[in-house]
């Protein structure tokens, strides 16, 4: 039995030892630690990105600290990093591990540059890497030409060729008011996601109208310079120039996140090679801002020749329909004339045509109602002008035809539209009531239709359920009252138990002093000298300290007197108090020498001091 236990223990030790042996190189400060710097390419083109890697290999990964990279930004632009990676290898039964820090950088200019060494503390010792030389040669130049939009200094990720945005306008010259359709297209050869779609910037001299774009499930593919691109139209906007001359449509920005592959160093190492299979490639998400280019638009003024008198700036193609709300109108009644203009163009900027009502008719400003549709690459719809008018006299009333004209930019000519003429026979109506005529505000409400019905959701209230019941009111007012009463009661109890010891002592100081004086009187009569002095001292010192809230640590007579002076106690009282206090001090050191008369005198002095201070403090 014992034997087998010993065996088991031995086996256990063997196993532990075996583990220990394997673990040792990891745990022990290893002799063959190396810290090296390397670059993915020693010769790079201008603007081409490459990797700088610092690798610590061998030894324990836990024993290093304070990795510090050299200043890479002196000659290069750091795009990413540091990204750290750790590796562990078992070769011929030996374990070795390594950790590396990788930066992705881009040269700023041509030339030969040295990457200075990085430092690290390993097992308390500082070690350095080698320095590396990188030669930057002239680039192919193709990189920065393509993207007029997204190539802007710091944010260049060198994927401009693979991911950019274009503003595509259907025309570069237009008449004043003529719509220019701009489509913002994103060309992409990378994986990406859109972040926030920023609002369209305001372009001076334009009125912008955005379209909804249906996003297809699969984006169309376009081939540009032999490369395939996914093309997304992310926004379509119609711009209506409101002034002529050379105008600019400002760039549009969209933030996005791009997934880029992080290249690994090629290595002869088997495991590395295994992991360098594309399946194991590392990806990194990088923020990237897409920016379209600024568009220059030449806006021509509308031709002066042939401009009709009724022209008020309408550009596009329109039809007009003029109608009256009813024919049988009485004098002093309100009626309305509707001018409906339908078509496409700068319809949202249309002004109402002038209607020449006869002077016998009162008129108001027209009410405008819009019904817009955007589709098929243009904005179309209807704008209705409602003219409320009140004929004042019975008889024949003629409303002359309404004239509306617009500039057709396709045909480059003006078109005039004329509505019907209305001949009305106004019947005799109620006499004019000046005081009760509608105001402009009323006219707005007169033309409005009522809001739609409300849906039946939830319980309907019954009669008697509409007011707040008295019982509810009482309850809701009593709850805070009870809470306040409870709070006060609690607070007072709390104070009694915990708090305000100082105030309490102050109020009780006189009583306590009286108690001690009475006791001392008793000791005086029984000639118990030591006890007597003790009680007198307690009476006077205790009184002064508690009454004036002097801390008990303050024991000097002068200190106490100073406080008394501050509290405006009279000099006589202070003098008396001083004598009493001095007497107590003196007696404390030589109590036995005191005579009975002396002791009785001290008692009187202490008593007088307390009484007079009490009186003077109250005054």
């Amino acid at each position: 039995m014992v034997h087998s236990v010993r065996h088991t223990a031995a086996a256990l030790f063997a196993v532990l030892f075996a583990f220990g042996a394997v673990g040792m190189p990891i745990g022990m400060p290893a002799q063959d630690v190396s810290f090296t710097a390397s670059v993915s390419q020693n010769e790079v083109a201008e603007g081409q990105q490459f990797q700088v890697t610092f690798t610590l290999s061998g030894g324990s990964l836990r024993q290093h600290r304070n990795f510090s990279a050299p200043d890479l930004n002196q000659h290069f632009l750091t795009l990413m990093g540091p990204s750290t990676s750790t590796q562990m290898q078992f070769i011929n039964g030996r374990t070795s591990s390594s950790i590396s820090w990788t930066y992705v950088v881009q040269p700023r200019k041509k030339g030969t540059f040295t990457i200075p060494p990085a430092t690290i503390e390993y097992d308390g010792e500082q070690i350095k890497t080698n320095s590396v030389q990188v030669k930057v040669v002239a680039g192919s130049g193709s990189q920065s030409q393509r993207g007029g939009g997204s190539q802007s200094g710091e944010d260049a990720l060198n994927i401009d060729d693979d991911f950019y945005m274009r503003a595509v306008a259907d025309k570069r010259t237009a008449y004043l008011g003529e719509p220019i359709t701009v489509t913002y297209k994103v060309f992409s050869r990378v994986n990406f996601q859109f972040g926030e779609i920023v609002k369209l910037p305001r372009s001076i001299g334009f009125w912008a109208e955005e379209f909804e774009i249906d996003q297809p499930n699969r984006y169309p593919i376009e081939v540009i310079d032999g490369k395939q691109y996914q093309v997304l139209s992310i926004k379509r906007v119609q711009y209506f120039p409101t002034q002529s001359g050379e105008l600019f449509i400002e760039p549009f920005e969209v933030s996005s996140v791009v997934r880029v592959r992080q290249k690994r160093r090629s290595s002869n190492n088997q495991i590395d090679r295994f992991f360098s299979d594309p399946f194991f490639d590392r990806y990194q998400n990088v923020e990237y801002t897409l920016r379209s280019q600024r568009l220059k638009i030449d806006v021509k003024p509308l031709p002066e020749a042939g401009m009709p008198e009724s022209f008020k700036g309408a550009v596009g193609t329109y039809t007009m329909d003029v109608s009256l709300d009813r024919e049988d109108i009485k004098a002093n009644e309100t009626a309305s004339l509707k001018v409906k203009i339908q078509g496409s163009g700068n319809i949202k900027l249309l002004e109402g045509p002038d209607v020449d009502f006869p002077t016998s008719v009162d008129t108001y400003d027209p009410r405008i109602e819009d019904d817009m549709r955007s589709g098929a690459g243009r904005i179309s719809g209807t704008r209705t002008f409602e003219y409320i008018f009140i004929p004042r006299f019975p008889g024949q009333l003629t409303i002359p035809p309404v004239e509306f004209s617009y500039f057709d930019y396709k045909k480059e000519e003006y078109v005039e539209l004329t509505g019907d003429e209305f001949e009305l026979d106004i019947a005799k109506g109620a006499p004019r009531d000046e005081a009760n005529e509608p105001t402009q505000a009323d006219v707005d409400y007169l033309a409005m239709d009522v809001n739609p019905l409300k849906q039946a959701d939830g319980e309907l209230r019954r009669r008697g359920e509409t007011a707040v019941p008295i019982s509810t009111m009482m309850l809701m007012y009593l709850i805070p009252a009870f809470v306040a009463a409870g709070g006060i009661a609690w607070k007072r109890r709390y104070d009694r138990i915990h708090g305000d010891a100082v105030g309490l002592r102050m109020r009780r100081a006189t009583k306590t002093a009286e108690k001690h004086l009475a006791a001392s009187k008793k000791y005086l009569d029984h000639k118990m000298i030591e006890k007597y002095y003790q009680e007198v001292a307690r009476a006077l010192w205790g009184y002064i300290q508690h009454k004036l809230t002097i801390p008990t640590s303050e024991t000097s007579v002068e200190g106490v007197l100073a406080v008394l002076r501050n509290r405006n106690i009279s000099d006589a009282t202070i003098a008396n108090t001083k004598e009493a206090l001095d007497g107590i001090e003196y007696a404390r050191f030589s109590p036995t020498r005191a005579e009975h008369a002396e002791m009785a005198e001290l008692y009187d002095k202490a008593r007088t001091a307390i009484v007079t201070i009490e009186q003077e403090l109250r005054a």
């Binding site: 019905l453 019954r462 359920e465 805070p480 006060i488």
Partner: protein, 254 residues
């Protein structure tokens, strides 16, 4: 005997419950909306009125009924029901707007006489807030007041107590006013002193007797304050302060 009574009561409860199931207010409202959408406003009005007869007094119901009357060309009644809806739920923008749209069609333009600022505030608070909103204000004030009382009686700090005392006095005033406001709103919900003129045109007389002189005319939909009633006649006052007597059946109280 006792068992029979229970069975009978249960039976009544079940049958009434079933009867109500058949004509639940939601169904009637939906039916009415259906009629309304088909421009059969008469039928919609009938359905809404049947709900009123069942004792419902919901702002939604009043509003929808007001709409039906409006579409049916009955301005006076539409204003009456919009006013009733507005009284219950002044915070609802649709109710307020429909009331304005209907009011714009009243023939009379009455310029209200300016009131004392404090009276105006009081009236505005009362008319533009619902009873529950006013009650919420007063409850908040009750809690603030309770807090002030706690601070005043629970602490001895002189400065704190002085500040709290001043604050408390203000709070007492505000709280009392808010309670009075809730009460006033409750009263106006129970019985409003205002009525809506129903006939197209009403002649207002200066005195209640038969030989009264015609004073002025008012029209359908106008809101007037009812001051007193005597022998089927009522003395009314317009917002501009004009007074006179009309027949009691020429107006309907809100």
């Amino acid at each position: 005997m006792k068992h029979l009574f229970i069975i009978l009561t249960l039976g009544t409860i079940i049958t009434t419950a079933m009867a109500q199931e058949e004509k639940s207010p939601e169904r009637i409202l939906n039916q009415a909306a259906e009629q309304y959408s088909q421009a059969d406003y008469e039928r919609a009005i009938e359905l809404y009125q049947s709900l009123l007869a069942q004792g419902y007094a919901d702002p939604k119901l009043y509003y929808n009924l007001g709409n039906a009357y409006f579409k049916n060309g009955d301005l006076g009644k539409s204003i009456l029901f919009y006013e009733r809806a507005y009284l219950l739920q002044p915070e609802d923008p649709e109710i307020a707007q429909n009331l304005k749209i209907a009011r714009a069609r009243i023939r009379d333009r009455v310029e209200p006489i300016p009131l004392l600022v404090i009276v105006k505030w009081w009236n505005d608070l009362k008319t533009t807030s619902s009873a529950s909103t006013l009650f919420l204000y007063s409850t908040i004030l009750a809690w603030l007041l309770a807090g002030a009382i706690f601070l005043f009686y629970g602490f001895r700090n002189v400065l704190l107590r002085r500040v709290v005392l001043a604050l408390g006095i203000v709070l007492i005033g505000l709280f009392a006013a808010s309670v009075a406001l809730v009460q006033a709103k409750n009263e106006s919900l129970a019985a409003e002193d205002f009525g809506i003129i129903m006939p197209f045109e009403v002649i207002v007389h200066s005195t209640p007797d038969a030989t009264a002189v015609e004073s002025f005319k008012i029209h359908e939909g106008l809101k007037v304050e009812v001051l007193e009633e005597k022998d089927g006649l009522v003395r009314i006052r317009l917002a501009d302060g004009k007074q006179g007597w009309i027949s009691a059946n020429e107006l309907v109280l809100i």
